[in-house]
């Protein structure tokens, strides 16, 4: 039931040229946005991502999407100006694939299962890209 809620909400995250895929992984669903262009993408190399992913527990929305961070591919992503790996990021494995994980969660937003959705979660993720670091 809750997995279906995740998949239904994830379907609304699709954008022109990008697709959304949901992969069941144990007690979680990994939501993957393929061919994702982040806001302020020019601050990063490459400016367009192969994929953006985040983990959502199957007991969503009682449990929020993983607040410890999100994943991007390619894992070689760097900041355009410094050519350095983005702050608070590191290589990790998800679904048997290498990703770059941004260890980042909103300090001001606490999840409200009655009002928050995957769209508000994605908006929080996009706030991280606006930093350009």
């Amino acid at each position: 039931m809750s997995r279906q809620v995740v998949k239904d909400q994830a379907a609304h995250l699709a954008r022109p040229g990008a697709t959304v895929r949901c992969v069941d992984d144990g007690e979680t669903v990994v939501v993957i946005l393929e061919k994702y262009t982040p806001p302020n993408g020019e601050a990063y190399l490459p400016s367009e991502l192969d994929a953006l992913a985040f983990v959502v527990p199957a007991v969503f929305p009682d449990a929020s999407p993983d607040p410890s961070g999100f994943f991007v591919s390619p894992p070689t992503l760097v900041v355009a100006t410094s050519k350095a790996q983005p702050q608070s990021s590191g290589a990790t494995t998800l679904l048997g694939q290498q990703w770059l994980k941004f260890s980042w969660g909103s300090k001001v937003h606490s999840w409200n299962p009655d009002t928050d959705t995957l769209a508000t979660h994605l908006a929080n993720i996009e706030a991280r890209f606006h930093r350009g670091t």
Binding site: D25, E27, T28, V55, D62, G90, L94, K101
Partner: protein, 511 residues
Amino acid sequence: MHSFSEKALRRVIRLLRSRRAELATSDASEVPRRRLEIAWTAADREAIELVALAAAPREGAIVALCRMSTGATRDTYIVLNPIAPVAGDLSYHRGRLVTVTARYWNRAIDQRADAGPGTGLCVLHTHPGEGVPVWSGDDDRADEELARFLFGEGFLPPDAPLLSLVASHSDLRGRALNLDHATGAVDMRPVERVRTLGPDRLAVASTIDRVWPRDHREVPIHADRSVRVFGREGQRLLADVHVALVGNGGVGSIVGDQIARWGVGRVSGWDPDVVEDLNINRSGVFSFADAALKRPKAQALVEALPAFALVRDLDTRWSQHDVRDPRELPALLDADVVVMLVDDVRPRHFINRLAYAHYIPALDGGNAIRSTAENDANAESATVESGGVRVSHLTPGGPCLWCTGHINARRLSLAFRPADDVAADRARGYVEHLGPEHAPSVMPVNSMTAALIMCRLQDLLFGLSGRAVPEVYFDVMAGTLDELPRARQSGCRQCVRWEGQADGAQLPFAE
């Protein structure tokens, strides 16, 4: 005591006559016997009995909703949402004998339909006076008519619970009513036990119809000192209680040891882990031999209990499965109280919802110690910075672990993180949201946690304090014990939303 339209009544009587032969030959022994209990909150019970008994010296009656909670060996009918009668809902014949009018039934049927699938009806009528109420011939006929009418006319789905209670000023009896649509026979199963859940107490009482043998246990012969505390009746009560122990590690193993010595008669244990050498210095019961054999903690604990249990024929069950495994639910729903001593937020979220949905109160305990050495198992010296022990009481009407902030959406989500990702975070030093990999733990604090659990359990079963104590907190550094003011959050999507939903509740099972 019940009343229908004349037309419906005639139909019921015709059915009754045509099926009398089948009724006489029905063989209940073919069906595996299950115990039947009812559970209700103290507030609902008071509302129901007060309203109905207010009609004394005439009979009174009241209708309520009920739902089924299906355990492995017992069915619990949860009685809730009393529908108070208004003027004209009850009528009397021969001056004293109450009948529930068709108008009242129609109102109850409508409310039942609005309450969702799995909801049934409960009717209580009174026999004013003291003593055990006796079902009269009129009661028997009325209950049969009621079952034929509600089930036969489709006002109740075949699997919906239908319960008839009769109360005097001092006692209560009950029976579940079912209609066999194939034969037209009405089956009446007696209620054997009543659990009343208050904010301050779990009152468990057998009815005169109790046949389950545990009720006839002798008081254990070695109970001398504890009989001097609660009497022989108190010792029998303990022997009749079933404690589900979720988490059989450091604190859980100490609690298991103590409840067996105390005289609890049924203990079920759940823990997915095995005993390791590193567990021994802060646990009860476990030995290095258990660790060498890598015995499951639940097995090592539960199988040790009969050697020192006060109840010599202690009923035990253990499981290494995750308590959230759907296969474990029926065994959990046989318990009278859950004692939960786990670090993992996922089973705590599961039991939290179960406690409210199925009217099985839970005590949730835990402790935490902060030390300068919490991330270093080889530290030469360390300073304890803080420490605390908490025990929360989860019961219908009271605050749940979400209301009090012990579980929130963020903490729950973090518990579901993939292991690879958690390991990568630790390797990179991002541990703020993780806490120490192996939390500091020491025997005196675990013993204190177990002691608080035991004292809260004692208060719950014997009503010593006589007041609601949703949470207690022991400050390890200050050596102080406090009751914390805790209140239910209105509209809580955990306790309020699922309270009393019983088998209709969506539980957060492991997938």
